[in-house]
């Protein structure tokens, strides 16, 4: 295992120390329980927005703490949901009296740990609302399973919902918008290589010289199928088609298109995928009215990409365009 780390045990704390040192203007880091909190939190009268999840997906979530996005983030161990103590501490740290939204990615562990935290927060008299993202079309959705995973939509949702909270929307309203983004968004990913969990010390799965995994998640979980590698146009088609068929997206739709790198894929390749995606959407009469191309929800050093599409209307577009000032996303100010 070759990584720029001091020890598998130290990864999360050391990275948090780096974030704290680099972004003191935007956020502070508390330890035990570990949380990343926006400077100036809690903001009186503003709905607090928090999220969290295992580490290893940076910049998500800590890199999205700041004006117009998250008020706090809870980083778990690598690929491990944070513990309720973290979400409780974050909830308290950002509660400005208007309630707190928990943005949870749909994984059994995340859902349960956030649930316990919400119970504890409620017991302390803080109003908590929850949105669970579940946008990954690689996973079959059913009442009898754990359901679809939350992936790329989470990033876009945190931005949009953060803007709603920033302009003063109520908790009910913020939750409505969160649910709208989630229901309007779908994602799918693929990997060219596995990642290596620091504690495990070796790749989670082995891929042949010529193979790729389709339908991968963001935790190095193996995907739905393994195939021979193809060119960028074919791979983009493989990812975009199930997304477009699932919602379904239709001719005339405006979308926010997000091409995401998984951590080990350079920007030049993401632009190639974006170019192919733009062609596919144009053929279907779908307009990309906003886009994001970069590595924002990653899986350690995994090479690969994911595509996320969110159907936009005026409300969501306006919230997407609103100012944001975080380590990883910054515009409008």
């Amino acid at each position: 295992m070759k990584k720029l780390i001091n020890s598998p045990e130290g990864v999360v704390k050391d990275a948090l120390a780096g974030m704290a040192a680099a972004h003191a203007d935007l956020l502070r880091v508390d330890y035990d329980p570990d949380i990343i909190v926006r400077v100036g939190a809690p903001i009186k009268g503003k709905v607090g927005v928090i999220s969290g999840g295992g580490s290893g997906h940076e910049p998500m979530h800590g890199g999205f703490v700041g004006l117009g996005m998250l008020d706090a983030a809870c980083p778990g161990a690598v690929f491990t949901s944070p513990v309720p103590d973290q979400m409780l501490a974050a909830t308290k740290a950002v509660d400005g009296g208007a309630g707190v939204l928990h943005i949870v990615k749909n994984y059994t562990g995340d859902v349960m740990n956030f649930e316990m935290a919400a119970e504890l927060a409620a017991a302390e008299g803080i109003e908590v609302a929850v949105v669970v993202t579940n946008d990954d079309v690689a996973v079959q959705d059913s009442l009898y399973t754990a359901g679809r995973r939350g992936v790329g939509v989470t990033v876009l949702l945190e931005k949009i919902v953060g803007a709603a909270a920033e302009r003063g929307d109520s908790l009910l309203e913020v939750k409505r918008i969160a649910e709208k983004v989630n229901s309007h968004g779908r994602s799918m990913g693929m990997a060219l290589t596995s990642c290596t969990v620091p504690h495990a010390g070796k790749p989670t799965f082995e891929l042949g010289e010529n193979e790729m995994e389709i339908g991968i998640g963001i935790h190095g979980e193996p995907g739905r199928k393994r195939m021979d590698i193809q060119d960028a146009a074919s791979i983009t088609e493989l990812l975009a088609t199930p997304i477009l068929d699932d919602l379904p997206f239709q001719s005339g739709d405006q979308v926010l298109a997000f091409v995401n790198g998984l951590g080990g894929t350079p920007q030049i390749e993401l632009y190639i995928v974006y170019s192919e995606l733009a062609k596919i959407l144009e053929q279907r009469g779908i307009t990309i009215s906003r886009n994001l191309v970069g590595s924002y929800i990653t899986s350690l050093e995994m090479a690969g990409c994911s595509i996320t599409l969110v159907k936009l209307d005026d409300e969501l577009t306006q919230l997407w365009d609103a100012p944001v000032q975080t380590p990883a996303l910054r515009w409008g100010m």
Binding site: G76, T80, T108, G109, M116, A138, Y144, A200, E221, R224
Partner: protein
């Protein structure tokens, strides 16, 4: 059979040691159908529990188990943290203020633990989770006691059923937890959570075997 509070402490110490020893094996199993952290998760949790044990050394069994569960909840994370955490907390609630228990109390505590796991995780048998190890074990233990087996013998039969349950997870298609994302590809792999439950059961039997 009389099980005292210090036996429970030894059981928990034993679990911590056993899980540390099998950490990489659990992580390996979790690599195949999960995210390669189950070993690290439980090791981190039980290491924290070990540090807490001195503070409950002279407390009742309920307090020992509840402290264990709360510490797991606060340090493990992932799916197994809330599940095992709830399990130990519920078992502790079933044994509140008790400094000694017998095999029937043990059954009640194990049942409470399983109910806690099911309440938290919303899974039932056959979904390829730790439940598939724990539930058959409790069934076998209860059946043996009802049939008049010696406690020690009944507990060994329970362990055999846990072992069988773990084996039986291999052909199952996962429908809960992270392994469910693999669909058909989850078939043919042993569930990591069921395996960690087996380690706990082994330590339980071994600890009780040392009682005179």
């Amino acid at each position: 059979m009389q099980i005292a509070a210090d036996t429970v402490i030894r059981f928990i110490e034993g679990v911590a040691a056993r899980l540390k020893q099998h950490r990489d094996e659990l992580t390996q199993l979790d690599s195949a159908i999960g995210d390669a952290d189950h070993g690290a998760n439980l090791d981190r949790g039980f290491t924290a529990v070990l540090a807490k044990l001195p503070s409950v050394a002279d407390k009742d069994i309920g307090t020992i188990l509840k402290t264990t569960g709360m510490t797991l909840v606060s340090t493990v994370g992932g799916a197994s943290g809330p599940l095992y955490g709830t399990a130990y907390m519920r078992a502790g609630t079933a044994l509140v203020d008790r400094f000694e228990m017998n095999e029937h109390d043990l059954v009640l505590a194990l049942e409470a633990a399983l109910e806690g796991i099911q309440a938290r995780g919303k899974a039932k048998r056959g979904e390829k989770t730790m439940i598939d190890a724990i539930a058959p074990g409790i069934d076998a233990l209860k059946a043996a006691l009802a049939a008049g087996s010696e406690p020690r013998e009944a507990i060994r039969l329970g362990l055999a059923a846990v072992e069988g349950g773990v084996q039986d997870t291999i052909p199952l298609l996962a429908t809960k937890g992270r392994a469910s994302y693999l669909g058909e590809r989850s078939i043919g792999h042993q569930d990591p959570g069921a395996t960690s439950a087996l380690f706990m059961a082994q330590v339980l039997v071994e600890t009780l075997d040392t009682l005179s």
